[in-house]
Amino acid sequence: MAEQEVLMAVENLNKWFPVRKMGRARGYVKAVNDVSLQIRRGETLGIVGESGCGKTTLGRAMIRLTDVTDGRVIFDGQDISRLSEKELRPLRRDMQIIFQDPYSSLNPRMTVGDIISEPLVYQNMYSASERIDRVRELMDLCGLDPVYIRRYPHEFSGGQRQRIGIARAIAVNPKFVLCDEPVSALDVSIQSQVINLLMDLQSRTGIAYAFISHNLNVVYHVSRRIAVLYLGRVVELAERETFKNNRAHPYTRALFEAIPQVGFDEQQKKAPLSGDLPSPVDLPSGCVFHTRCPYTQPRCRTEVPDLREIDPGHYVACHLV
């Protein structure tokens, strides 16, 4: 991978939350564990996993909405993992976020115009009158009628609110947008509208996305490459096509089999995995997946598998591959 092509590089990132008992840290929730991945300019990296896999925390750490316990985040050639809130402020122009919940992500006391122009105000972009033009342009771009610029969020439907959130995120022309479950709260027929909008915006402006979701179908559709997370670790990372025919990690395979597909040709009626996710406080030793893996070997219980490149661009963390 050519160095200029890489927009964001996450290197051995760890994010642990202390579990406090009687005021002292008695253990850690290891939300993100030794994660390394890269996002190239203009591409979409899908990050997929079940609840508790650390995908949201990883996303927040990538754009430094949370501190990093260990490891580095290099954005546009600059290590941002140790910068202070104040030092980060100017960089926020280049990295933005779209949230899952179209309700709590918009301030109910602000008009749509104020919401969309907020990043422009913080970043001191445009004059006050130019800002209004810019907001109208953004609303138009995101499929919202600009006449609603003075309306309040509660007057819009979930899908429209999500469009407002998208307009806010792209207002400052960012290079990178973190999409945290952007369509999970929407109805099926609205999901496709929002997904198409995100993809149109990418082809028009060349934004790079990190697209976090638990919905494999959606991630598969939007991403060029996909990282599968399990209990805070990347277990498999590859081009999207690889996941169609060449899924290597047992967890990835189970995850894909578990999704109910519309169609009746090869319906899988058996659940591919048994058991619950282990608690992130006491992670299993060795490979974190060994408690549920159908192929567990003795060494899986003791040795943590490295993320190895088994084919060009295809990384897997499993002893058996």
Binding site: F99, L106, R109, Y122
Partner: protein, 294 residues
């Protein structure tokens, strides 16, 4: 059912949150009646000299402790003063206690509550303990002790009641700010490079405002009652200034001679408290239904 969420923007009128709330409030007949009553009461208090049938302090020596008559609609007290006149002047004290004492309580409460909620951690721990300490004294008892320290008088009544009432507001604002801080729109503001100050000004304060309005409306009647109680005990407003609590206290000595003397100031007090309580309920339903346990 999420039917309402699907309502089309096209057919919705241009409405802000407060406009919406006002529309909801307008539909509530009781609330409007209370609002009218309170406005009238304020007018009565302001224009007391014009409305009252007698000048304040005027003593009709021909009618001492008289019952209601055409000359004195609500009767007279032990000095022959017209009770209606005294009730009208007494409304000045009650309303200004509601206003000034509550302003003091809100200032302290919002400041400390917001500080604790926004910064959390050690600051929160310290402020929370302080709130707990001050909330450990029964309000009326604490007010009595403060009055003992400051001495009697109208201004001191304001100070005592204001200083007693801040803990409740501080608790609510603290919880509210803590909740707001976790909202994604605050995170969005941080993600766009908003500083603490800007986030507080643009997001936290506007979203707390409705809560503050509700809490204040609901606290005013208790303040009015505390004033009446202090004055009743002889620790608040001192004669000859008229206060409903002080009138009831005096009337107590003449229960046998003029029983209605004690009734009328009480009715004035009950009606005022009732109006504020009901208005507060309606405002809460319209602005902030989460505060249901208030």
């Amino acid at each position: 059912m999420s039917i309402k969420a699907n309502a089309n923007v096209q057919d919705a009128a241009y409405t802000s949150f407060y406009h919406d709330a006002f529309v909801r409030l307008k539909r509530d007949k009781i609330a409007i009646a209370c609002l009218v009553f309170i406005v009238l009461l304020i007018l009565v208090a302001i224009f007391a000299p014009l409305i009252a049938p007698y000048p304040e302090g005027f003593q009709d020596t021909s009618a001492i402790l008289a019952g209601p008559s055409s000359k004195h609609w609500l009767g007279t007290d032990e000095f022959g003063r017209d009770i209606l006149t005294r009730i009208i002047y007494g409304s000045r004290i009650s309303l200004s206690v509601g206003l000034i004492a509550e302003a003091i309580a809100v200032t302290i409460g919002v400041f400390l509550g917001a500080l604790a909620g926004y910064y959390g951690g050690k600051i929160d721990a310290v402020i929370s303990r302080i709130i707990e300490i001050f909330a450990s004294f029964p309000h009326i008892l604490f007010a009595i002790v403060i009055m003992f320290v400051l001495g009697t008088g109208v201004i001191n009544v304001f100070l005592a009641i204001g200083f007693v009432g801040w803990t409740g507001i501080a608790r609510i604002i603290r919880a509210q700010v803590m909740q707001l801080k976790e909202k994604e729109f605050v995170e969005a503001a941080r993600a766009s490079g908003g500083s603490d100050l800007k986030i507080i000004l643009r997001h936290l304060i506007p979203n707390c405002l409705s809560t503050i309005i509700v809490v204040v409306t609901m606290a005013i009647p208790s303040d009015i009652m505390y004033e009446a109680s202090l004055s009743f005990l002889g620790l608040g407003v001192q004669p000859p200034v008229s206060s409903w609590g002080e009138m009831i206290s005096m009337a107590r000595k003449y229960l046998r001679t003029n029983p209605t003397y004690s009734v009328f100031p009480g009715i004035a007090l009950v009606l005022t408290v009732l109006a504020f309580n009901l208005l507060g309920d309606a405002l809460r339903d319209a602005l902030d239904p989460k505060l249901k346990n208030l």
